[in-house]
Symmetry: C2
Subunit: 235 residues, 2 copies
């Protein structure tokens, strides 16, 4: 059954028009008819089955039955450095599938990107959440410089730094010694962090350098890999 | 430094011409000069640094120093079902980065592919191995039907079946209870295995159904996720 993310509040009999893009999708892509049922979720009120009212003008949804109660899907943050403006789409899609709750694009010394497309990232995150049956959508933050992000960081949220070089703990061992309800994973850009950035990161008490294994992973693979391992070991 | 996979034997002073594609790459893409050094590996004799002799006709390599001894990179097999002819490229690339030693494309009941491009898969696996500093290249097998593969399977090689539905053990728990030097991961096609295939798989003593978490992963994400988790927990 079709599953859509909506912003409206959801409770029995609540009724609201779907936005233009969703209306187009339902009418012209998925060829839905008046009276057909779909599922919706908003990240707050669980998942609801309800009925479409399709007119020439728009498509409205009326909630009928809650199919799943809202659950806390965990706190897992991804910090990653997109290096080209079209880079990062896959990282966002996979991170959403793998349960990330927040994603921060970061600008590092080796980042040469002119514009980070956070609007597109949001659309990708929503679509991935709709398809993988999540009950929430990861929050995509505005891009910011690594040093600014770290200056304002909540020190209780531990950062696992995926390090390609230097002293680092295997990620499984690092996770076994932690009992953190809320974790973040930091992945450098292709080409890695600079020595200066690494030295700075290694001085921070809330940063633990970890390795993902003996091979050099591409940045996008490292992001997927780290999130997968954390989810598997927190199960 | 440039790293290439070669088929020739490697020992001190061994000398051989590189193939046409590699010669083109070195001369015209990477603009190498006569006397420049590169690294090569063949999956048997470790990694060797050596020197290029560039002529109009070709590029030859002479091995100088072994930079890394050959190591056993483990036995980890991926069985996956490509569903479109251009599908699978990313799965092959990431599986190579994540240390798979063998990859079997499989044809399932829901596979509608006409031709599985194993030649291209091999090229992708080699390029990924060159870039991620592996000392071997995963073997890409010819595509075969799932039932044929299982009939000829070595029963000592355990298969973790990534199951979207039905009874299954969290993958970390399944791995903790196993002591297998050699493992395989089986990922279904988009749309999943049929009920008939699932029932058949569940009767096999060398198959353990596992879950990768509470979310529904795309087939390519599931492959990357499972290989990442196995590598992290075997470290």
């Amino acid at each position: 059954m079709i599953r859509l993310f909506v912003s409206a509040d959801l409770k029995a009999a609540s009724s609201f028009p779907l936005d233009e893009k969703q209306s187009h999708y339902l009418k012209h892509v998925m060829r839905q008819n008046d009276g057909d049922d779909i599922l919706v979720f908003n990240g707050r009120d669980g998942e609801w089955q309800g009925t479409l009212a399709i007119t020439k003008k728009n498509v409205a949804f009326t909630a009928q039955t809650q199919t799943r109660a809202q659950v806390n899907e965990g706190l897992l943050t991804l910090l990653f450095a997109p290096i080209k403006s079209n880079h990062g789409n896959m990282t966002i899609e996979k991170a959403s599938e793998l349960g990330a709750s927040a994603i921060y694009p970061i600008i590092t010394e080796r980042t040469v990107v002119t514009r980070v497309p956070t609007d597109r990232y949001e659309a990708i995150a929503i679509e991935a959440a709709e398809q993988c049956e999540r009950l929430s959508v990861p929050k995509i933050h505005e891009a910011q410089k690594l040093e600014v992000l770290l200056k304002n960081w909540n020190e209780h949220k531990h950062i696992l730094l995926c390090a390609e070089a230097g002293e680092a703990t295997p990620i499984a061992a690092a996770l076994a010694s932690m009992n953190m309800p809320s974790l973040a994973v930091l992945i450098g850009p292709e080409g890695g962090f600079t020595d200066k950035e690494f030295s700075m990161l290694r001085t921070l008490p809330f940063v633990t350098p970890v390795t993902l294994g003996p091979r050099i992973l591409r940045a996008d693979t490292a992001a997927i890999s780290a999130l997968s391992i954390i989810q598997a070991l927190k199960q």
